[in-house]
Amino acid sequence: MSALKAPPAAAWWSSVVRAREAGIVLALVALVAYTAVSNPRFLSGQSVRDILLGTSILAVLAVGQAVVVITRNIDLSVGSVLGLSAFTVGSVVQDNPGLPVVVALLAGVGIGVVCGTLNALLVRYGQVPALVVTLGTLYAFRGVTYLTAGGQQITADELPRAFLGFADASVLGVPWLVVIAVAVTVAVGVLLRNYRLGRELYAMGSSPEAAALVGIKVGRNTLVAFAISGAAAGLAGVLFAVRFGTIDAAAGTGYELNVVAAAVVGGVAVFGGSGTVWGAALGALLLTVIGSSLTVLDIDQFWQQAIVGALILLAIAIDRLVALRTARALRKGGPHVQ
């Protein structure tokens, strides 16, 4: 014990894996520093607030997505669930101006849970792959939203002050939207890390067959995972309505790509079993900061999407490399690793 030896390769690599989030933080710091040097207004209160508000919606979605992806599934319907929730809650609030914001938020969560459960039932009991189911519901939920909206748009002046004011309101200087996003991340993070259910979700993602063999209730857990993702998307819909004030049936179209990107960039492995919600939330922050600094640095907005794409490729390539090295080191080090 007293001998000062270099840590075994495996331990070193697994600490790198754990430090996956640290890598994103590093990238974030570098990006923010560079942008702030060339334009100090990037760090002004208003700008930081805008970035955090922008992140909060994407982060909530990415956290929900992380849970599903960890179980080796995917939820492509989140953008459509967001739209459905935003429009439905928006019109309810429009008709009932006195409704407390909490009720609106819960209504959004409720809509999301229903959508998520429907996805899960089809995945679990229809034996239809999650990719197919959620691709289908991506179309279907969006269609339902267009049908109910019937071409209307809800504009900011039709929504009650109290509802829109929620976007500007803050606790101890921190906007409510950000508080909610952090609370969601922490709650889901703790659930995954410290509770039996959370560990089971990882086990299902690592090996669905083995998970079933050791008696994990795969069906129930799939249901929970999709319900969480749906709930997050529903909640994000209300946050969207509050933040932007103008809602039509197209709200959140194409969001699924950004959400999956945030999770993947944040280190959630597409084939399940690894990654954290912290990483997913950081991924969301990174993507938002990239978008914002491009504008501030006056770089063509057109580069943004290309950079996001390159980042996804980079992230999965790094994860793959790390996994390979870890596996090799484990094989070599074998039982010596504590």
């Binding site: 691709l135 991506l138 267009y146 049908l147 057109f302 794409g309 490729l313 793959r320």
Partner: protein, 330 residues
């Protein structure tokens, strides 16, 4: 061998082809103006890009992979086509260059999947964003429109000025080639074997990685070709051409009975799936059904196409078990 081939054409293929024929007949009979030759031309032009891209996509999905970057490849090709045209290159050079560009983009996907061993779902979501982003970098938000009439009218015109669209001939030729390769050559057998059990395929001497690499290349090349046709049809090269088309292609392929897990599927079913979706859209639009209902129909069809065979299989399994039990009791 032939019974082997027959087994691959499952009852779902037969069902989807039958359903498509019924829908076509009903539409022709019940929807005003559906059966006209001009509408036939519109229908073909609408389904052309989806059908073209669906051909290599069928191969890719049967090997157990997926290529979500096709619509972005189409967009990038369209943007590059416009930009090269603006720089004064002749169209005869641009068109093959664009198909080649598509092939190179496909090779990028192929490299990531076969050399770096990354999941194609993640890779092609990445390149979906990357290629589309590059398309905007190339052409920005401007549009190029002054393409030569000889080319644009070839895409929209008919054979010898008749009612059979030129584009249909192209599609039929490519579909025939793809169908032959998939269902009557060793390549096709290798594709099915890889999708059914990749390990076993490797052990039996199939060079799985090489196969997959070339499939991604051809997927890119065909998407590039579709980009050229798209641009000429609308006489408009834009970076946002074909946004979201990948979902329509995947929907058609799955609807056509190809298993998302690989190993199962047939081209006739896929083509029927493409035609079915396009016919429903065309006919419902003629009946003034709104876009939004079309979305719901597409989504539900997609899920049902996988759900129904699954339910059928488990139902049959239950029946067989019950029969066995009954037999044991007597």
């Amino acid at each position: 061998m032939s019974s082997d081939r027959l087994r691959r054409i499952s009852w779902w293929d037969v069902a989807i082809i039958a359903i498509t024929l019924v829908v076509l007949l009903v539409a022709a009979g019940a929807v005003d103006n559906f059966g006209s030759s001009r509408n036939f031309g519109f229908l073909v032009l609408d389904l052309l890009p989806i059908a073209l891209i669906a051909l290599p996509m069928t191969f890719v999905v049967i090997t157990g992979e997926i290529d979500l970057s096709v619509a972005s490849t189409l967009g990038l090709t369209s943007a590059v086509l416009g930009s090269l045209w603006n720089q004064g290159l002749p169209m005869e050079t641009i068109v093959p260059l664009c198909v080649l560009l598509g092939a190179v983009l496909g090779a990028v996907n192929g490299l990531f999947v076969t050399v770096f061993k990354l999941p194609s779902l993640a890779v092609t979501i990445g390149t979906l964003a990357l290629f589309r982003g590059l398309a905007f970098v190339v052409l920005g938000d401007s549009a190029v429109a002054d393409f030569p009439a000889a080319f644009t009218s070839w895409v929209t015109g008919g054979v010898g000025g008749g009612p059979i669209p030129n584009a249909l001939v192209l599609l039929v030729v490519l579909a025939a080639v793809a169908g032959l390769v998939l269902h009557a050559t060793p390549v096709g057998r290798a594709v099915f074997a890889t999708g059914a059990n990749e390990q076993a395929a490797r052990f039996s001497g199939i060079r799985v990685d090489k196969l997959k690499f070339w499939l991604f290349v051809s997927s890119g090349a065909v998407a590039g070709l579709a980009g050229v046709l798209w641009t000429l049809r609308y006489s408009s090269a834009r970076a946002d051409n074909g946004v979201g088309l990948e979902l329509a292609v995947v929907a058609a392929v799955l609807l056509g009975g190809v298993s998302i897990f690989g190993g199962k599927g047939a081209l006739p079913g896929v083509l029927a799936g493409v035609v079915l979706l396009a016919t429903l859209q065309n006919a419902l639009r003629l009946e003034d059904v709104t876009n939004e209902s079309l979305n719901i129909v597409t989504g539900v069809l997609l899920i049902v196409s996988v759900l129904l065979p699954n339910l059928g299989r488990s139902l049959r399994a239950t029946l067989r078990r019950r029969r066995l039990r009954a037999a044991r009791h007597t």
